[in-house]
Symmetry: C2
Subunit: 450 residues, 2 copies
């Protein structure tokens, strides 16, 4: 079932990321009965970071340790983590921790000298890509990766126009904020950017997405900016999770190439096995990108990101500017990332994402039969979305209630989507069916108690 | 003595970073007799990174471990590190390594929950700043820090024009590359950027720098971009190290404020005690910036950067866009950075930089009396520059010879400056007088053997 929240004919509401955060943000102005230790930390935080720094929850979490899928508070309470996609092989994964501890005591330097671990990692990483996508540049963050990808596309095409989705979030640099409408609520798009509705149903999702893209390309061409590329998160996380039908990206990728642009797959969220179908989100759609960007889970929390592209694209960019990243791919980051890749492969975490994610999605859909507030449960692998509606309209207030009600039941979760009404489920990839049961049952209970 | 290399009347040569790198870069096309293991690593590197990826030295270094001021190659050879400013409290510093090992096994999460170490670090860091500079935002790199600083200045002033120095390097994002002329060799400056000569002598350095700035500001105002701020590395690293006379920045900062712009001090290179005078490079000049950016040595190689600014500036920026950095200030990065700060403070590394740097500078100046190739030795603390000249003109070929000759003598060093003729000396801050002796004597020997 699809709701007006995802209808492409809905009014072009101002992007809502701030609203979404506000749903779930601590507000120092509100009366509160925080424990003294937590209140003291909040005060320290505001003194150093300023009052605009966003904390999650009415009652912020004071965490002291984490392990697997669990975060632990100072008072000993444990929380099931359904929010954090960075520690994808588990919080404080022992193999990653050991690799980091060993490397940081042995060697940590930039990549203008030779050392082994970065090349072993680069080769293992590139082996997960389709033929042709065989060169990598390491960065420190997904933001830096997307920033570099934009320039690779501009150098290759000589154009600077990009098409993204309406609630896209691709990172925090100046250039990447321009292509992240969700970071610019209420502001007009940058002149060289066009935003199209994310590919939600019903009907011919693939055809509509490609048609919207072609209209945006024509508009960019007419504006004089020209078309450098299509940049999408292949699971459309911040748009509210769009996954089906698998393959819907193919006509858009064809349209991109016909227009001379590059297809940049932002795999910061779906990559490294999260969708359960394959290592990379684009593989679910049977397309091959020109450029792939990655970040978040790559080092399980040690900052590392990367851009993978064809040699010709890397060379064209290098001829114009060149790129060096002091920390990018350094031995500690590479060692952490290699351990992550080994964990994903040896522990079968892609298959686990498919199994546990499929199981959880089925249970969430069944829950939707009993709770009318659930408009739709959707997604792929361990990136799922549960959309809340009331009287046929998006219901962010229910998402907000659920986020806080689940916190009360010791489960951490967040929301996404244009209206902030989509619960986003993206736990560490080591999530088990028993954890899925806890979430589904707590959600059932929370909705019943509303 | 000053040479034409630093004369502001010299022709506006194309920025020369690529040339500088080329001085010191491995060239796969050149015949070589690399050991088989090194040759194999070079081949692996080119397969994964592409042929445009830059390696230092005719005979690239294959490093396997590091300790203090020493890097060790696979064959057991040890090299004195006079190049790397990131591991400023020493390669594989035990306190940093222990802090990282402990934290990565305990908790590593983003800053939207509360945890202690980030606040302890933020408070200790902010305590090193003058009054008023009392809010910090954490990033992962110096590039991300400067990217954010540019937006803070634009939000505060409503303008987008920046003034930088002719060979400035401030980082690798799209926006920061625009204000990094050294990254754009042979290309025109971005329309909103003006580059002025770095503040080198002889004569009234301060007055000339301020006058050049005022002319650039007037030009930005006339162009319609307006003036958002002056962005400088307070030791002018990539311009070739400009340090004297201390205080020369003050008139430029006054001119900046008169014109309604912000003064952004890029402390990525001079910060954290390197100049020997104080914790921050701007303090040598008795000025207080509006915004300070930091990176490289902050976590001794664990990626962390930061922006420090006044509350009003942070708030004005947050009102327009907001900023969140997933890995910025995470517990592992904070723990590493806290250990770095403790090492700097408890081991007196600022005073050590002054002592060893002063001693080394005196010896280098004395060397200049005996070797006519040395046009000038200059700098502050443990950021020194040795300028080579031949027949009164910049002599990058001597710098290139020296870099490779010192590598043969097991000392690692690099070059900077508009003509690539300035040896840059920026070892870990734990450098001792005995290490300075090794460098000076090897340099003496190398020049005598030329």
């Amino acid at each position: 079932m699809t709701t007006p929240a995802n209808s492409r004919t809905a009014d072009a509401a101002p992007a809502a990321s701030r609203q979404i955060l506000a749903l779930n943000a601590f507000d120092a102005a509100r009366p509160s009965d925080l424990p003294p230790e937590t209140a003291a930390l909040v005060a320290r935080r505001q003194r150093s970071f300023g009052p605009t720094s966003v904390l999650f929850y009415d009652r912020p979490l004071h965490v002291v340790s984490a392990d697997g899928v669990w975060l632990q508070e100072a008072d000993g309470k444990r929380y099931l983590d359904v929010y954090n996609n960075v520690p994808s092989v588990g919080h404080c994964n022992p193999r990653v921790a050991a690799a980091v501890a060993k490397q940081v005591a042995t060697l940590n330097i930039h990549t203008r000298y030779l050392y082994d671990v970065v090349h072993t990692y680069a080769e293992r990483l590139l082996a997960t890509f389709p033929e042709g996508l065989d060169k990598v540049a390491f960065t420190c963050t997904g933001s830096e990766s997307n920033d570099l990808a934009l320039r690779i596309a501009t150098a290759a095409t000589g154009k600077r126009g990009f098409v993204v989705t309406e609630m896209a979030y691709h990172g925090n640099t100046t250039a990447v904020t321009d292509v992240s409408p969700s970071s610019r609520p209420g502001q007009p798009l940058a002149p060289h950017v066009r935003a199209i509705p994310a590919p939600f149903g019903p009907g011919d999702v693939a055809g509509r997405f490609a048609a919207d893209l072609e209209a945006a390309i024509a508009d960019l061409e007419a504006s004089g900016h020209g078309f450098a590329g299509l940049l999408v998160d292949t699971i459309f996380s911040s748009d509210g999770v769009a996954a089906d039908p698998a393959g819907f990206l193919a006509p858009a990728v064809e349209a991109t190439r016909r227009a001379g642009g590059l297809f940049i797959a932002d795999e910061v969220q779906p990559g490294f096995g999260r969708t359960g179908a394959a290592m990379w989100g684009f593989q679910r759609h049977s397309v091959t990108p020109d450029v792939v960007t990655m970040g978040k889970p790559m080092g399980n929390g040690i900052p590392i990101g990367g851009v993978v592209a064809r040699l010709d694209l890397m060379q064209r960019f290098a001829a114009s500017v060149g790129y060096f990243n002091t920390f990018g791919g350094n031995p500690v980051a590479s060692a952490a990332a290699l351990a992550v890749l080994q964990e994903i492969e040896e522990r079968g975490l892609v298959a686990n994402a498919a199994d546990v994610g499929g199981y959880m999605l089925a249970r969430l859909k069944a829950l939707g039969q009993r709770h009318g507030e659930i408009g739709e449960a959707r997604g792929a692998g361990l990136y799922l979305g549960v959309e809340f509606v009331a009287d046929g309209a998006p219901a962010p207030e229910i998402a907000s209630y659920v986020i806080n009600a689940l916190r009360g039941r010791r489960i951490l979760i967040g929301a996404a989507g244009r209206y902030g009404n989509v619960l986003k489920i993206r736990p560490p990839l080591i999530f088990e069916r028993a954890h899925a049961d806890m979430l589904v049952e707590a959600l059932d209970d929370a909705l019943a108690s509303r």
